[in-house]
Each structure stands twice: as structure tokens, then as C-alpha cells.
Amino acid sequence: MLAHIIQNLPQVLIDGLTLGVVYAVVAIGYTMVYGILELINFAHGDVFMTGSFIGATVLFLFMGMGFLTALPALIVFLIVIIIAGIATGLLGVGIERVAYRPLRRKNAPKLIALITSIGISFVLEDSVRFIAELKTGNYIVTAPSIFNHRFTLSAHDWFPFFNNATFQGSFILVLAVTVVMLVSLDLFVNKTKWGMAMRAVAQDRDTASLMTINVNRVISVTFFIGSALGGATGVLFMIQYGTIDPYIGFILGIKAFTAAVLGGIGNIRGAMFGGVMLGLLEMFAAANLSIITHGAMGAEYKDVFAFIILILVLIFKPEGLFGKAVVEKV
């Protein structure tokens, strides 16, 4: 039994990492918005989904115009990801303007903002579904595949107790792009003036406004960055898995939120770790649950475990595994 689990480990780690970095970047969107507004932005998962659809559309357009053969795939990909990122960033800013800012002005209870965010998520899902169906008659969209060379990681040659692992070219791309995104975000938040302003607004909105900081603008910037990252990740998801539908945002959003909670909500580095950890755990559970439980519980229980982790962390360590205990503002 144990031998089996160990043999498979390299493959599980690679797959877990792929899924984990996707969770991580989406988790950052949740954590940034929560940090600054103390609001669970339910619509964020659907912003991610919208990003993947925008990416697919642009890719199809490029293909139609023959760019895909004329330009190196990497450049096409970068253009697509930037366009999708900007579009979803603007979408995020729009959502904030329409659905959250009026409530903030009215000082409405948090419950209400949560409800509007659920509403926004429904509207996004259905609008994308509608457009996709109108175009293709079927809302499951299969993207043109690029970067699908296969590589083999010969773990077996180095350590005989491992099996070899294989991965797609897109895996490297996903990993590289997310690392670039995460590092530049970290630098932005911790080293730049606007990053400092964001942190200040997150800690004390009223006082930040006394420092000549336009709080609404900082919130807009936060939404832009969080949503743009989410949308760009949507493109990565599309490249990695090839097929998207309007409902991918829901499950993935909940998982990403779990990751954010795991890492300590409001904590950007925590969200990164939380995401990668959750991806690894989930992949490990899917690959090994039935081996461990002798068939009593199969891979279908992996989500149950994800939710149980979420609930346990929220109950016993609400500041997250990497978060510092912050005295709650009552």
C-alpha cells in the first residue's frame, strides 16, 4: 500500500502543483478583496471563468486571422493573457462600482453585500452561458490546443522507488506565469507606494483617507488587480485543461476561497501557500483515498475533505495556518 503511494508521488506532486497554483492565484483575488473590504466576493470565481472565456474568444479570433501559425505560440499566448487580464480587471472594477460601492456608501450590513455578490456570480454565469450558447449552441467550449508536447520526468532513474511522471508543456507555462504573477504582486504590494496605500486602506480605511489617499480609487485598483489575476488564471486554466464551461468558477471559487482561508484570509503570501497546499492535498486524496481506506471511500470524497478542512480551519484557527492573530475590530 505504502509502496504504491510513494511510487505515484512524483506524478501526484506535479498534478497537485498545477492545480494548486491555479487555486493560489484565484485565492489571492479573494484575499485581497477580503483584506480591504472584509467582504467575501462570491463573484470572484466567476470572474476567473469569464477570463477563461475571454481568453478562448481571443484565441479563436487569432486563429481565424491566422496569427497562430504566423507568430510563435508563446507570444500569442502572452497577448491573449494580457487582453483577458485587462478585460477581467475592468470587469472587476465595474462589479465593485455597481454592486459594492453603493452599499458601502449606505453603510449596509455585510450580509447584504454578500447577497449582491451571489447575485453577480449568477448573472456572470448565465450571461457567459448565454453568449456561448448563442455562438456555438453548446456552452462547453473546447479551446485550440497549444503547448501540448509531453515531457517525462524520469524520477525512476534517480530514485528507483518512484515511478516516472509525465507532464504537458503547458504545465511549465502555467507554473512560470503564476510564479511571475505572484512575485510581481508581492513586490507591488510590499515595495510600491500604491501597494503601501492598499495595505493602509486594508488596515484602517478612515485614517488612510486622512493621508490624502483616495480610498475608493485604492479599492478600485485592488479589484482591478485581483480580477485581472483571476482572469489571467482563467486563461492558464483553459490552456492547461483545454475545455471550459460557464460553471467552472463555482467549484473552483469555493476551493480557492478555502485556500485563502487556509493561508489566513487577508494574507497574500498565505493565500499562495494555501492554494498550493490545497491542490496537493486534493490530488493526493484523489489518487490515494481508496488505497488508504481499502475502497470504503473513493476519490469522490476529496471535496468532502476539502470542505471539512475549510470548516475546521474556520472554527479552530480562523486566522489561518500562516496568518498572524489579528485583534478583531469589534
Binding site: 453603493p102 449596509a108 450580509l111 447577497i115 449582491t116 448565465d126 448565454f130 482561508v261 468532502v304 472554527i315
Partner: protein, 428 residues
């Protein structure tokens, strides 16, 4: 139009005229339904009389009796002339089921201010508790007893469903209440998903729920030898439970517990300071809200004669939430109206418009893409309703009446007070 309105106002000023107008309305719409038995609009207009009744200046007791007569006698009687009799009664039954559920959620969200996004789990628990024992399913894991249980046990199961659901409410509540307000939403969502996944997977190692195959051939209820199978019969069951639920909610609203809920909702810290036991109060809300759902789950299982996990998704939980928000959080008549509107919208209006559109495209060859069908737009419509109501009409269709304090203000003030206290005392 305005002069017409003024005239109407003048007539409606006297109580007697109001009653006459109301009776006339019921008669006209009733007659309308008899003459146009297949017109859904006529049926809806007849139902609409209940809302008018609510707004009339009338003795409260008389109102209740009139309402009951309309719902229990006039509506079923008149629609029995129609070929759509069973459809109408099916809609009526669904409205009853969802009204009770929405009232349950209203206790949790509207009264106690706890956002529950996994409410459908309790409905599922109720439905499965009847389904398992009223079909051959129980025989697969129970070492004793004969299954399926006879239809007469249905009536006991309504209570059992309520009890089991309440138990689950408490099981969920105990750990969850340690969690802060907005985290609660996520935790309950997770809980709802866990229940659904478990129901879908508990066919091995021990087959309890029959997994994704669902449980079929559930014994219909039996009422003194009469097997209850048609929607028109379930309509009365739903109506009875609905009345019981309203009675309980009305009683609770004005009880000590009801006031405690509202105090907790409006200001948790102050409520605690006044000596309200937070945990007990919140648990009571969870348990009572869940029990309504559980009861209706039993009815649902008996009516469908088949249950599987696909009926209990996150979407269903949010639909119940839409009912509460649309009607008005904390407002009992509002929530009832909200449930009715959503169900009628889902099962009647959208379907009819879709069918009309597709017939239009069939007969006149107007190409209307199926993606445009309003029936498929449900998510969009409910999403927009949530946003619009949350932004512009937080108090819902029928606002909660005895709201004397402005919640938002109270919250802000208490926050300020607390802030003052903490910042004043924290340093030395």
C-alpha cells in the same frame, strides 16, 4: 388614470365597499378561471386575491378564515374544472413546500441574522429519512423490521423528518456558531455540499442512500385507507403543514425567543450584555428553521416518489434565499409572497413564455435561438433580482413591520462605541 384612481380610492374608503369589491374580485377571477380553464393567468389572478386580502382593512380573524376558505375550498374547486387541475395543484403544493422552507430560512436569516447558504441540506435530510424507510432501501442495511413501511407511517415521518432535520441543524450549529458572521455563509455552504456528496456516495461500503441511483418507488402516504398520490391531495397536506408552520412562526415572532433573535441580529454584543444566551438562541434558530425544511422534505419525497442528490444542490439553497430576500427579510407575509412569486415564476411564467416563444418560432418560422429561452435564464433573472433588491429595496416586497430601529445605524453606533471603548482602554 388618476381620476380613476381617485374614484377607486373613494369607493374603497368604506369598509363595506372594500369587502364587496373583494368578493367581486374573487367571483370575477373565479368565473374567469371557469370560463378559461386553461388560462394560467386566470389561475394566478385568483391566487392574487390572497394578497389583496392581506391589504384589506378587515378583522384579523375574519381575514384568516376567508384566506383559508379561498385556499382550501375555492381555489381547488374552481381549478378542478380545468384540464390543468393537477398542474395547478402541483404549483400550489410546491408553493406550500417552499413557503414553509422559506419561513424556516427566514428564522435563520431574517430573524437571527445568520446567513445560511446550505439550507437545502435539511430538506434533503427530511426527504431521505422518509425515502429510505418507505422504500425497500432500508432493508439493505437494517437487520430488523419489514420494509417498505406502510403509507400510514407518513404522518409520523413528518414529525421524524422535522426532528432529524432539527438534529442536523444543531449538529451544524454547534461548531459553526464559533465562526464570525460572513464566514458562517461559507461554512454552511460547505456543510450543504458535504451532505449532498455524502448522500450521493453512501452506497458503499454500506448501502444507506443507494448513492447516485437514488431511491425509487417510495410508498405513497395513506390516509385511513386512501392512498394519496395526486397533486390535488398533496396540496392539502402541504397546506396543512404550511398553516402549522405559520402558526408556529407567528407565535415565535412575538415570543421571548423571537425578541432574542432580533436582538442578536441587530446587535450581538448588546444582546449578550442584556443576558441573552447567544449560543442557545442561535441554535434554536437553526433547529427550528431546519425542522420546517425537514417536514417539507418528507412531503417532497412522498410526492416525487423518487429522491436523488441532484435535487439538493447549492442552487436550490440560493433559490430559497432569493425567496427570503425578495419577500423581505424578517417579514412573514413578505417571505410567503416571495416564495410564491419565485415558484410561480419558475414553474409557470418562465415556462409559459418559453413555450410561447418556441411555438412562435415553430409557427411563424421566426428563428429564436434556444439560448434565449427565458426558462434557461433563471440564473440571470434570480441573480438580477438579488442584486436589485439588495441594492434598492433591502426590505423586500412587503417590508418587515415592527422595525423601530434602523439596523445599519445601530450597527455603526455600536461599532463606534466599541471602538471608542477599545482604543481608549487598550493603551496605557
Amino acid at each position: 388614470m388618476t381620476s380613476l384612481g381617485a374614484l377607486f380610492n373613494k369607493i374603497a374608503e368604506s369598509k363595506r365597499n372594500q369587502i364587496i369589491l373583494f368578493i367581486a374580485y374573487v367571483l370575477v377571477t373565479g368565473l374567469g378561471l371557469i370560463l378559461l380553464p386553461d388560462s394560467t393567468v386566470a389561475f394566478l389572478l385568483l391566487l392574487f386575491s390572497i394578497l389583496i386580502l392581506y391589504y384589506i382593512d378587515f378583522n384579523l380573524k375574519a381575514k384568516w378564515i376567508t384566506g383559508l376558505v379561498i385556499l382550501a375550498v375555492i381555489v381547488p374547486f374552481i381549478s378542478s374544472f380545468s384540464g390543468s387541475y393537477q398542474t395547478y395543484m402541483e404549483v400550489g403544493t410546491l408553493v406550500g413546500i417552499y413557503c414553509a422552507m422559506a419561513l424556516g430560512l427566514n428564522i435563520v436569516v431574517g430573524f437571527a441574522g445568520l446567513l445560511d447558504l446550505g439550507f437545502i441540506a435539511f430538506f434533503a435530510v427530511g426527504a431521505y429519512s422518509y425515502a429510505i424507510f418507505a422504500s425497500g432501501q432500508a432493508a439493505k442495511f437494517m437487520p430488523f423490521g419489514h420494509y417498505p413501511l406502510p403509507g400510514g407511517t407518513f404522518w409520523i415521518f413528518i414529525l421524524i423528518g422535522a426532528f432529524v432535520a432539527a438534529l442536523f441543524g444543531i449538529i451544524l450549529g454547534v461548531p459553526v456558531l464559533r465562526v464570525r458572521g460572513d464566514y458562517l455563509a461559507i461554512v454552511t455552504l460547505g456543510f450543504g455540499e458535504i451532505i449532498r456528496i455524502l448522500l450521493n456516495n453512501m452506497d458503499h461500503p454500506i448501502n444507506i442512500t443507494n448513492g447516485s441511483m437514488g431511491i425509487a418507488s417510495i410508498t405513497p402516504p395513506n390516509f385511513f385507507g386512501i392512498s394519496i398520490g395526486s397533486s390535488s391531495q398533496f396540496y392539502y397536506i402541504a397546506l396543512c403543514i404550511f398553516l402549522v408552520v405559520i402558526y408556529i412562526v407567528r407565535k415565535l415572532e412575538n415570543s421571548k425567543l423571537g425578541r432574542a433573535w432580533k436582538a442578536v441580529r441587530d446587535n450581538e454584543i448588546a444582546a449578550q450584555a442584556m443576558g441573552i444566551p447567544l449560543v442557545k438562541t442561535k441554535l434554536a434558530a437553526f433547529a427550528i428553521g431546519a425542522s420546517f425544511s425537514g417536514m417539507m422534505g418528507v412531503v417532497f419525497a412522498a410526492k416525487q416518489m423518487f429522491v436523488d442528490a441532484t435535487s439538493f444542490t447549492y442552487l436550490e439553497s440560493t433559490i430559497v434565499l432569493v425567496m427570503v430576500i425578495l419577500g423581505g427579510m424578517g417579514s412573514v407575509p413578505g417571505v410567503i409572497l416571495g416564495a410564491a412569486v419565485v415558484i410561480i415564476l419558475r414553474t409557470q411564467v418562465l415556462t409559459n413564455i418559453s413555450n410561447w416563444l418556441s411555438s412562435l418560432s415553430a409557427t411563424y418560422g421566426i428563428p429564436i435561438p434556444p439560448a434565449l429561452s427565458p426558462e434557461k435564464m433563471q440564473l440571470l433573472i434570480f441573480g438580477l433580482l438579488l442584486i436589485i433588491f439588495a441594492l434598492y429595496r433591502t426590505q423586500g416586497l412587503i417590508p418587515h413591520k415592527n422595525r423601530k430601529v434602523d439596523v445599519a445605524r445601530l450597527e455603526r453606533e455600536s461599532a463606534e462605541l466599541a471602538h471608542k471603548a477599545s482604543s481608549g482602554g487598550a493603551d496605557s
